[in-house]
């Protein structure tokens, strides 16, 4: 084993560098922001409003589109169908294209003169420059995370259990609700968290579809381009704090879920 010691040291060193690379910039902006500055920004109406907007739009995007995506994830995990690989690749497209490109595509899709835009406006919903547009943009870039997590979760449920449930007289819908979903629940929940976090942090797609009302990533960008770094930093720190807080809370709650399931 002694022969491996230098390698172990090298790996530790590299790992430390990567960790530092992530932590250092974050620590830097925290250290550069005084507590009074932090409090002042956090209670500022424009900032608080944008954070609230970002939180609820991303959450709504996750719930609305996520619920529709879960049965689809099950199909991807269980069924064989032609062009399945193509479908899987299509699902990953939002991850690999730039947010701004996604924004341009969505804009064309939901603009007032598009089919969806006309349907929306007939029901009194306007996408562009409005919260429905923000929700659509967030959902577009973040939905792959949920679909992939849920698909892997469903795939990990032993198919035999679903078969056993069918054999015991349960309808396919009942099997899905009482066996598949409960057993894939951890993966689905973690997919929801990932989707929500991704939607919340989206800038490119959101800024193109709706500059106003301003989500926090847009607000940070606006402050930076109009007033400079020192003005954008406190908002950034507040937003990162809120994100981390929610992330930690949800992780804790979901791990409690997991333990209860054991």
């Amino acid at each position: 084993m002694t022969g491996f010691q230098p390698m172990k040291l090298l790996f530790l060193f590299l790992g430390g560098l990567v960790l530092l690379f992530i932590v250092a910039p974050l620590a830097g902006i925290y250290l550069a922001t005084s507590p009074s500055e932090f409090m002042e920004t956090a209670t500022h109406r424009e900032v608080a409003g944008s954070i609230w907007l970002t939180l609820w739009t991303s959450m709504l995007a996750t719930v609305l589109f996520g619920v529709a995506a879960i049965p689809f994830s099950w199909i991807l995990a269980r069924r064989k169908f032609p062009l399945k690989r193509v479908v899987s690749a299509i699902i990953d497209i939002p991850i690999v294209i730039p947010g701004s490109a996604a924004g341009i595509a969505i804009l064309g899709f939901v603009a007032r003169d598009s089919v969806l835009g006309r349907i929306g406006s007939s029901m009194g919903i306007s996408f562009v420059g409005n919260t429905p547009g923000i929700i659509v943009a967030m959902a577009f870039v973040s939905i792959p995370f949920l679909i992939n997590a849920a698909r892997d979760g469903f795939a990990a449920v032993p198919e035999k259990l679903e078969k056993a449930a069918l054999n015991l007289g349960a309808s396919p819908a009942r099997v899905f609700l009482t066996i598949s979903i409960p057993l894939a629940w951890r993966a689905i929940l973690s997919g929801f968290i990932m989707m929500w976090a991704r939607g919340m942090s989206e800038f490119g797609a959101v800024v193109i579809v709706a500059y106003h009302p301003m989500t926090t990533p847009v607000l940070i960008w606006e402050r930076f381009t109009s007033y400079g770094l020192s003005y954008a930093r406190p908002v950034t720190v507040v937003f990162i704090t809120v994100c981390l807080l929610f992330f930690v809370i949800l992780r804790t709650v979901s791990s409690k879920f997991e333990n209860a399931g054991d």
Partner: protein, 350 residues
Amino acid sequence: MLAIEKISLRLGQFELNRVSFEVEKGEYFVLLGMSGSGKSVLLQVIAGLIPAGEGGVFLNGREITGEKVQKRGVGLVFQDAALFPNMNVYENIAYPLKARKRGRREIEKEVHELARLTGVDQLLKRSTVNLSGGEKQRVALARALALKPECLLLDEPLSSLDAQLRHELRSLLRKLNHNGQTIIHVTHDYEEAVLLAQRIGVIEGGTVVQQGTPSEVFQHPRSEFVARFTGIRNFFSGTLLDGAGTSRKFRINDIEFFLLSDEPPGEGFIVVRAEDIILSESMARSSAVNNFRGVVTERIPARMGTEVVVDIGIRMAVVLSDESAGSLGLEEGREIWISFKASALKFIRK
């Protein structure tokens, strides 16, 4: 009652080839075959979990080949029990009742009755995750019975259990059968077949090569595969006599064998491996206590050596090397002595 007609199917490495058999109401039918012979696939075809390629499944004269899985009324117990880990024992047993939208009271009553019958009434509130193998099988049985299945399908239900638990579960299966439950049980273990089956079907390479009562199948294997696979050409029913200690006698008609057993006296079977019997020209003075004079009635080349059938009042099969068979000059009609030790006899209670 349940009829399988010419089921053919290819599924990966498994293949079923025109499988046909019938099971009567209240019958205990054992499908005996090596692992990979397609017997588990066949059960899933009957349950509708794998579509039949060709052929049909008939229940009480009605074809159910294309019937929805959840409407078939055949309960399948998987080899590893397949209990739902997100539910406790009670909820597992109640699952089929809830699926049928029974009332809460009725479900509670039914679950408790089934739990008593299968001996899991102390476990109802337990999680299924840390049950023992035997407990899991019992819960899976109770759950399948809650369906009130016309026919119960069991996939190697005893294979993961130790000897004591096997014994207990076998008694439970017999009890269920005595209560009128039709059962199809697949296994690779001939002892299970002997102990439980009213009729046996031997499955080889995806097809049923022989079916009949245990004595028909074991004493008159219709193919070398059956003979080799069951491995017990010498299989006889009779009575274990009372006696002191473990040295006992077993009587078939007026022939008595010495054997070692601590079982109580009663009806049962004995098994002697054909390889454990010695042939000699005159009565051998040896440690073997079972010595009989008989007549060679058959001499058949076997896969390994020669098989000779000697009639000593019952027909016993003996396997020996070609060299021995040659030097003894075992032509048909020749008189010969057979001998085997008491410990070569295995007694199986009925």
